[in-house]
């Protein structure tokens, strides 16, 4: 044990880097995303080749508009899943938000009060669930399921039927057209969604909070021992997800100028699926906001293809969606494996 000087320090580790990493491939951690993107493009061009009008720019632009809510929700979900959690309450929070928004607006509340109020409520609900998950060590699944029941329960309790929104601001937002190019129009909702994605991606990649999210997902026990604010971060991601869901609800209410307690049913599963398709690992610790965005795009594109196909009844719609999903996932898997 005392023969240290026999090894001249300079002689040690002549290969400074891991040889496996010497060849430059696109960084392996981005491979799933790149694979998803490639496959998405392939899918898109297959659509263009097969359907008339599919190549119009508005198809792509509408993808963002039609899936604005899902995008926003998936962003929040991405944070939650990266910490190794799950949030089932998002769809219900959307319904609660739309119902509440519509009810309050109908009751004559000023829209500029309603907006922050519902966003705050969604965040608070998220925070509550996060707190229960962290402090009482309740499984995220069951805690957020309770949140689901609660939020939709509140919505149904407020009003079972759909409530129209006739508020001027809401209507204006709903009808405001942003002209991107000749004949290519988009709406506030899609712009909001894109902004949310950009902000979230920046937060996840560049801030301390973002890194803590990954650390917790990698190993929550270690993160705690490393002195990271595990509790605070966990609560924050659920708050964030609640906020995103509430924002999704607002977008929903803008999109449809109405509120309804059954809105957003099953949306949680779509959001989770979108994240996972986009390469976020359900076990936590890995994934990107852009991945989830791509996941939503895959979902949206499948829907678009189905509508363009136009001759599928319910049964075939489901089967084709399943098959497309299957094809996509398996290809993604194969491509990622090859590249590794």
């Amino acid at each position: 044990m005392t023969t240290i000087d026999a090894t001249p320090a300079t002689n040690k580790t002549p290969s400074p880097t891991n040889p496996r990493r010497r060849v430059y491939l696109p960084n392996t951690k981005y491979i799933p995303i790149l694979a998803t993107l490639t496959l998405l493009l392939i899918m898109y061009f297959t659509g263009v080749a097969n359907y008339e009008n599919f190549g119009q720019p508005s198809v792509v632009v509408n993808l963002f508009r039609d899936n604005a809510v899902l995008i926003v929700v998936a962003v929040g979900m991405t944070f939650v899943i990266i910490t190794g959690g799950i949030d089932l309450s998002v769809g219900a929070v959307i319904s609660m938000t739309t119902t509440l928004t519509a009810t309050l607006l109908q009751a004559g509340w000023p829209p500029l009060v309603v907006l922050p109020a519902v966003l705050l409520l969604g965040s608070l609900l998220g925070m509550g669930m996060g707190a229960v998950i962290h402090y009482f060590k309740v499984e995220p699944f069951i805690a957020t399921l309770a949140g689901l029941f609660l939020a939709r329960g509140i919505a149904l309790f407020i009003n079972q039927s759909s409530i129209p929104i006739r508020d001027k601001l809401w209507k204006a937002m709903s009808e405001y057209r942003i002209v991107l190019a000749d004949g290519v129009v988009t709406k506030i909702t899609s712009v909001t969604a894109v902004v949310v994605v950009l902000i979230a991606a920046a937060v996840l990649a560049w801030t301390r909070f973002g890194r803590n999210v990954y650390a917790i997902g990698g190993n929550a026990d270690s993160a705690l021992l490393m002195g990271l604010p595990v509790g605070r971060t966990k609560i924050a991601v659920y708050t964030l997800s609640g906020f995103c869901a509430a924002l999704g609800g607002v977008l929903f209410s803008i999109n449809s100028t109405s509120g309804w307690a059954l809105q957003g049913q099953g949306l949680e599963l779509d959001a989770i699926a979108a994240c996972v398709i986009g390469g976020v690992l359900l076990t936590g610790g890995s994934g990107y906001v852009f991945g989830s965005l791509l996941g939503v795009m895959v979902y949206g594109l499948i829907q678009t293809i189905i509508t363009f196909q136009g001759d599928l009844n319910a049964a075939w719609t489901r089967i084709i969606v399943g098959l497309l999903l299957f094809g996509f996932i398996v290809l993604q898997r194969v491509v990622t494996r090859r590249a590794r």
């Binding site: 229960v132 402090y135 009482f136 060590k137 309740v138 499984e139 699944f141 069951i142 805690a143 399921l145 309770a146 029941f149 609660l150 939709r152 329960g153 509140i154 149904l156 309790f157 079972q160 599963l269 989770i272 699926a273 996972v276 398709i277 690992l281 359900l282 076990t283 009844n313 319910a314 049964a315 075939w316 719609t317 489901r318 089967i319 084709i320 969606v321 399943g322 098959l323 999903l325 299957f326 996932i329 398996v330 898997r333 494996r337």
Partner: protein
Amino acid sequence: MTIIKHRLFWPSVILVALLVVNMFTANQFITVRDGHLFGVLPDILRGSAPLLLVALGMTLVIATGGIDLSVGAVMAISGAVACLLIKDLGNQNAVGSVLLIMAVAIGASLLLGLWNGTLVAVVGIQPIIATLILMVAGRGVAQLVTDGQIINVQSSPYAAIATGHFLSVPIAFLIAIAAVVLTVLLTRRTALGLLLESVGGSPTASRLAGIRARRITIMVYVVSGGLAGLAGLIYSANIKSADSISAGNLIELDAILAVVIGGTALIGGRFSIAGTVIGAILIQALQVTVVAVGVPSKATLLFKAVIVVALCLSQSTTFRQKVFGRFKSRPAVTAEVPA
């Protein structure tokens, strides 16, 4: 003291509480009529059979760290296949043919489970997505099989699996219990349970301990498929028809909830079949209670939310410590140590 600490204590308490409520609201809680059990309790037990079966398979899947979203679709397919074949029977009451058809339907479900298992264990797709594919497409297939309509059958042997009685006990419940017993034997009398928990606990460590994780994973999905198929048969026999649209709709959520209530963690590892049984019956009892007490349908979800919140808090050791711990003074803790 120790019994209160048991993780199934609080779910059991809530279950018993719900049953007690039903005791007061019901005309009959449990009686014998026409030679078989009758009343709310038998109704709850019978009604819980499909959920129990599905949750049972889900428990094993979850133990390996997976999840099976496709159970509802498998239920729909199995019921559809069975009813379609039975409808075309010359004599719908021929016990032999009906049994054969049921075997075919379950066979189909096992194959669907195999498909899931292969996607997860061989292709390496995350379980939630792998089974989502079948969840979406499978119901489409079921709708295709039934042509979107409800297929009616008039087969008393088939109906019996849901509504019949054997030794005055509902057959559906007996089937569920038989499945539970079989699963317990399968997992605890063989080494399967241990290996499952090991794979769920850490796939890497299990592989290095020489466990054939792949085979085991495929197997649990197959079992889950088969049990879902059986549940689908009971579901459709109960209404003597195949309803491909609503059969097993959203049951995956209830099943997962039952498993989690039963104390099995979603990340995999240790599982408790007894817990799942309690969980499944609890959910059914809750549903019945909601109707029996006459909770208005717009408040139903709120009512459920309260129960689930109570459940999840009661199961949290930390919560109990923080709330009930207040009553005890700190020195008391130290005092009991020497024992």
